[in-house]
Symmetry: C2
């Protein structure tokens, strides 16, 4: 499998999301142009993106919606469910644990952890908050593949090191700190401050020459 750039993977997830809605509306086929409009790109881009993985369309007709959904799920690794642990049960961790979209997209929250004894034992959408020191044992037992870090910035690097030592290779970081991870571990950051700053830059430079 050739290496695929991250922007491509992002677009593919967008196509999949649109196709699911399109399928629910009862459509059978879709053209690259329609997909492009939905994904904010061009028809040539859509066809290039898909052509990395094979030929899914029929010339003159377009793509079969259900077939393409199945192909994209397989390409993206979404034909299985992914167990996930959430580290930190503060406001963000709790909000995420209760987010239904988690489950509907194939991700199962199998554990949520916190150091605060007041939070341990509380329930969030069917998952009980467990003590921080259960983390390593639970990762060994439940084999989650992804960890979502919702701890304060000061604690984020330590939390990353712990989940990586326990065998996790993919991490989504909500803490407002940039983290260093060993080779082979994928870390993605969701950082409000960065997003707002990119918007501030766009506003500052909206009067473009």
């Amino acid at each position: 499998m050739k290496h695929i750039a991250e922007p491509t993977v992002r677009r593919l997830t967008g196509y999949l999301r649109f196709l699911e809605a399109f399928d629910a509306d009862g459509h059978e086929t879709i053209s690259s142009g329609e997909l492009a409009r939905a994904g904010g790109t061009t028809s040539a881009q859509v066809r290039k993106d898909l052509s990395f993985f094979g030929s899914f369309g029929k010339r003159g007709l377009g793509y079969g919606v259900k077939d393409l959904i199945a192909s994209l799920r397989e390409i993206l690794g979404l034909d299985t469910r992914w167990p996930v642990v959430i580290v930190g049960a503060g406001k963000i961790g709790a909000a995420l644990a209760q987010y239904r979209g988690f489950g509907t997209h194939g991700f199962d929250v199998v554990g949520i952890y916190d150091t605060d004894p007041a939070r341990v034992g509380t329930h969030l959408s069917g998952v009980t908050v467990r003590a921080d020191h259960d983390l390593e044992g639970d990762i060994a037992a439940l084999a989650p593949r992804i960890a979502v870090l919702c701890v304060p910035g000061e604690a984020a690097q330590a939390a990353l090191d712990r989940v990586v030592a326990a065998g996790i290779r993919a991490v989504l970081n909500f803490a407002p700190t940039s983290l260093v991870a060993p080779e082979g571990v994928t870390v993605r950051a969701v950082n409000m401050a960065t997003e707002l700053e990119v918007l501030a830059y766009a506003l500052t430079n909206e009067a473009r020459d």
Copy 2:
């Protein structure tokens, strides 16, 4: 001003964040190599990124930390404060409203809005939740430049259309829906499902050839 690519802007915000910590530690100068290590990039990239905006360093010495912080703040438009409205006071909206990093990075939450009468009038870190129908009037009165959408997916496009009609040109969308905005309006999306799917793809293809 030449057009600067988004990845560049993202890196600049990262440099700024690191420099603030570096300054707090009492360092006076920094080399492009040190900045690169902190930002997960290369020294040449750091120098190129900065050279778009001018010459900030001293050959043989590096960059003055305080000077570079000031320059980056100005470049990014962070030398003023940005008023922000939050639309939707559910779990995510409420969590964001109470996030202190908002204020420390130069963004002021001047209003938060919800349709649910049970939420209207409640207080979140000093800001009172206001009724949805106050949105347009408040935008006219308070002149926020950025709107953060924390409404359910079905309501997101309508919320975007309203804030755009009221004069907002920069939007951060937390709803799990891709939105269409008119030319001249910058929309950035923060989408958990997309981030998790990118991680799932990375894990699926970690056995790389």
